[in-house]
Symmetry: C2
C-alpha cells in the first residue's frame, strides 16, 4: 500500500500562477449587484470610487476563467504558501472510521487564517494604483489582522474600524493589528459623520459590523487617495481564495486521490468558495461529482433557513444590493454565539450554486462544534478557530456515517485558522457555560420582512 | 545563480531517526549534577523517583553519540515536522545587507514553540513506562502548553503548577492548557505541603517559578505512578531539541550552504542547545568553525554577567545542584521584564562550551529586542515570541555589521515561537511604556553571594 505522508506539501514553484474564476463556468451566473440609488446593475464607474480599479474589474468579470496572479503577490505568497494538505490519521483512528480524512490547513501564517490570501492581493492592487491608504472594518479581528500584515508589507496606511464591543473585549487582537502598524478605531467613532450621528443619539452605543462598514466606506470615499476593502462575500475575494482549492486539488493529484466529500464552514463564504472552486468546476463540467457541504452555525443559518433574495451587504444599508441567501441585513445573531460566522448573508456565487443544487448546507449548534474542536485538538495538536471548528464538526459527522455504512470515503475539509484569540469561548465551553442559541421562526420572519423590495 | 526558495522543507522521510548527544563529542564533559544531601554526583537511582527511567538514563549518558528516536515519537513529530528553514529575503532587503539570513522556524505548531519537541518525547517515555500522570510547572506558559498537548496525545493526566500571578494575568494561556485536558493549578496551592506552608504564612503570596517547581516535584514523588518533567536546562531536553539543529543542517546541505554565524536566544538553553548541536560538533571535531552566539536579556544576563559555579536549579533549593553559569538561584529579574528568558541559570552543556570558548554571548535590552521584533514582523509576516525576538535582534546586529564591512556572511538564527499570547508586552512597547531594566552590580553580587558552597 502506498504510504501517504501526514502533510502533503507542494513546492513554491507549484504555487498556482493564476486564480480560478468559477463564474466563468457557471451556466447561471450570480445575479448582478444593484446600485441602491437606481436599482440597476452596477457598472464599473459606480464602484471604482469605493474599490480599487483592478479589484472592481475582477468583481464584475463573469467571463475570464483564469486571472493571472501578479509576481508581486506570488512573491509574498511564498512566505507562507503553499499551505499543507494534511491527512488526519489520528482523527480517523479516534473515530474508528474507514473514511480517509484530509484538511487543507490555512492557519500556518501569523495572521492565523486564510484571510491573508485576499488581504495581500487587495493591498497589492491598491499599491499598484498609487493609493496611499485603505480602510476596512473588523468584527472578531481575523480580517483586520490579515489586512494589517498586508498593508505593513506593501507600505500602505490602514484604518480599521473595529466594533466597539470587540475593541474593548479583545485588546490583544487590537494589539496585533497595531503591531503591524494599523490605526485601529473603535466604531462608532467621531472620525466620520455616520459615527458622530450615532454617538450624538446614543453615546454608549457598542457598535455593530454594519456601522463599522458604514464608517469605513465613508472614510474611504472622503479621504484622498484611499479605498475601502472587504474580506469576504465579494466575487473578487472568492477569486483570490481559489488558491486554497487549487493547491488542495494539486496536492490530491500528487498522491493520486480525489475527495468524495468537501466540507467548509460558511460565514460570508470566502473560505468555502475558495476551497471548493476547482472541484465545483469538475461538477459544472461533469468531470467529477463530489458532494460539497457548507456548514453554518445554527444561530445564523443563512442558507438553511434564509431566503434567496436581494439584500444590502451591510446593516447600514449604504452598500449595493446583492442577491444572496440572507436572513435580512437587520438580523443579529445572539450575543451568546461565540463561534464566528455571524454574517447575515452568503456570497452571491455560493448562493447561486446552492440554489442550483450544486451544494448542500447543514447547520450545527455551537456546543457540538466546540466538542468536535476539542477532540480534534487533542488528536491532531492544532487548536481550531471556532469558525473552522464548524467544518471539523461536519467532517466528524460524515466520518461517523462512514463508520456506520462501512464506506471508505475520502473527506476534505477546510481548516481555515487557529483559535489563539478565541480562548474565552473555549473556556466558556469547558466550564459548561456555553448555550446553544437558535433564532425562532418569529425572529427570522421579522428580519426577512424588512428585506428591500426589488422587482 | 541558483534560486533558493523562501522555505526549505525537508520531507517527512527526512525527519532524523536519532537525536544527537553533543556530550559524546565534548572533551570537557559538563560537570555532573550533585545530590544536595550528599554533595556527591547523582546516580541513576537518585533521580528515577523524580524522572522517568529512560529520561534519567539520557540525563546521565555522556557517551552515546546517537540516541534512537522511537517510532512512536517520530509518528507524532510527523504532525508538524520537519519545520521549515526560511530565507529572510525581506529582512535582508530591509536591512540592505549583503548577508544571507536564514531562520529555523519552530512556531508552526499549535503549542507555538519548540518546546513541543521535548514535551512529546518526555510524555512518550512516561507512557511507555506505564505511568498514568505527570507534573510540571510553567511560568509564561509555553512549556505548559506544549506538555498539555503531548499528554493529550499520549493519554496521560497532567498537573501544571502555574505561578499564581501568571495564572491570574494570563487566563487565555490557562484556557489553552485546559482545552488540551490539563489540570492547571495556581501555585502556591493547597495541593502540596510546601504550598500549604507558604499559604499559611502568607495567604496573598503570588508565587514564583521556584515555588511551582517545588510543588510539582512534591506532587510527583507523593503521587502513585507519576513523575516530574522539566522543559529546559536538562541534558535530556537539549538532546531532544537537537532535532532542530539536525534538520537545519540537513536543509542547508540540501541547498549546498553552511552558516557562518549561528544565533539563538538563551533562557535555560533548550532552544540554543538544540539548534547549535550538530554545528557545535563540527567545531569540536574541527570540521568547520562557525561563530555561535547566545543572546540573553540584559535583565537576566546569566552568561555575560553570571558566575560558572554549582547552584540549585530551582529557587526552592530542593533539586540537585548543577554546575552552570548562574546569577544565583535567588536572583529575580525585574517584574518589568516582559521578554521571557527569566531563568537564573544556563544549561550545563552550554555553560561548559561557553567556558571552553566555543560560544560567544551578548545581552540586549528589551526595547531594542521589541524594535527588532516589530521590524521582522512587518517584513516577514511572522510575529515573534519575545524570547525569539532576542535572536532576531542578534541577527539584525550581525547583518548590519555585514553592511558595514561588505561581507556576504550566512546567518542562521532560531525563531523559536510566536507571540500570540504576549500581546500585552507588544502593546506596552508600542505605547512607549516599556522600560529597560538592568540589574546593578550590587544586585548581582548579592544574589551570587548566596550560592551554595561546594568544594
Amino acid at each position: 500500500m502506498k504510504r501517504i505522508p501526514h502533510k502533503i506539501f507542494l513546492t513554491e514553484e507549484q504555487i498556482p500562477d493564476s486564480w480560478y474564476n468559477l463564474r466563468a463556468d457557471m451556466k447561471n451566473k450570480p445575479a448582478p449587484m444593484l446600485n441602491p440609488a437606481t436599482m440597476k446593475p452596477v457598472e464599473l464607474t459606480d464602484i471604482t470610487p469605493v474599490f480599487c480599479e483592478e479589484l472592481a474589474m475582477q468583481e464584475l468579470d463573469d467571463e475570464t476563467r483564469r486571472i493571472n496572479i501578479p509576481g508581486g503577490i506570488i512573491d509574498v505568497y511564498r512566505l507562507y504558501r503553499p499551505s499543507p494538505l494534511v491527512r488526519a490519521y489520528n482523527l480517523e483512528k479516534k473515530l474508528d472510521t474507514p473514511a480517509e480524512i484530509y484538511f487543507k490547513y490555512e492557519g500556518n501564517n501569523t495572521s492565523g487564517s486564510h484571510k491573508l490570501n485576499s488581504a495581500l492581493a487587495q493591498a497589492y492592487y491598491a499599491k499598484k494604483q498609487g493609493l496611499s491608504a485603505l480602510t476596512t472594518e473588523t468584527g472578531a479581528g481575523q480580517w483586520g489582522t490579515a489586512l494589517s500584515e498586508a498593508c505593513a508589507y506593501f507600505g500602505l496606511e490602514l484604518n480599521v474600524y473595529m466594533v466597539k464591543v470587540s475593541y474593548e473585549q479583545k485588546p490583544y487582537r487590537k494589539a496585533v493589528m497595531q503591531t503591524f502598524g494599523a490605526n485601529v478605531i473603535a466604531s462608532p467613532s467621531n472620525t466620520t459623520q455616520i459615527g458622530q450621528k450615532i454617538l450624538a443619539e446614543d453615546p454608549g452605543n457598542g457598535g455593530s459590523l454594519g456601522c463599522a462598514i458604514s464608517e469605513a466606506v465613508e472614510k474611504a470615499v472622503t479621504s484622498g487617495n484611499c479605498r475601502y476593502v472587504l474580506g469576504s462575500v465579494l466575487n473578487q475575494v472568492l477569486l483570490h481564495q481559489s488558491i486554497v482549492g487549487l493547491e488542495a486539488k494539486a496536492a490530491f493529484e500528487a498522491i493520486d486521490e480525489y475527495p468524495d466529500i468537501i466540507i467548509g464552514c460558511a460565514g460570508g463564504g470566502s473560505n468555502l468558495g475558495g476551497l471548493v472552486a476547482p472541484f465545483m468546476r469538475d461538477k459544472l463540467t461533469g468531470a467529477a461529482n463530489p458532494r460539497v457541504i457548507a456548514v453554518e452555525p445554527a444561530s445564523c443559518p443563512s442558507m438553511t433557513r434564509g431566503k434567496y433574495a436581494y439584500d444590502f451587504c451591510d446593516t447600514g444599508k449604504i452598500t449595493p444590493l446583492s442577491k444572496m441567501y440572507t436572513l435580512g441585513c437587520e438580523f443579529k445573531p445572539s450575543a451568546n454565539h461565540a463561534g464566528g460566522l455571524r454574517y447575515h448573508g452568503m456570497a452571491p456565487i455560493l448562493s447561486q450554486l446552492y440554489a442550483d443544487g450544486y451544494m448542500e448546507a447543514v447547520a450545527y449548534e455551537q456546543t457540538s462544534v466546540f466538542e468536535a474542536a476539542v477532540m480534534f485538538a487533542k488528536c491532531e495538536t492544532i487548536l481550531p478557530a471556532p469558525e473552522s471548528a464548524h467544518a471539523v464538526r461536519g467532517a466528524v459527522v460524515e466520518a461517523l456515517k462512514c463508520r456506520e455504512s462501512g464506506e471508505k470515503k475520502t473527506i476534505l475539509f477546510g481548516l481555515t485558522g487557529t483559535g489563539y484569540f478565541d480562548m474565552s469561548a473555549y473556556s466558556s465551553y469547558l466550564e459548561g457555560k456555553m448555550d446553544d442559541v437558535i433564532p425562532t421562526d418569529g425572529d427570522l420572519a421579522a428580519a426577512l420582512e424588512k428585506l428591500p423590495k426589488v422587482d
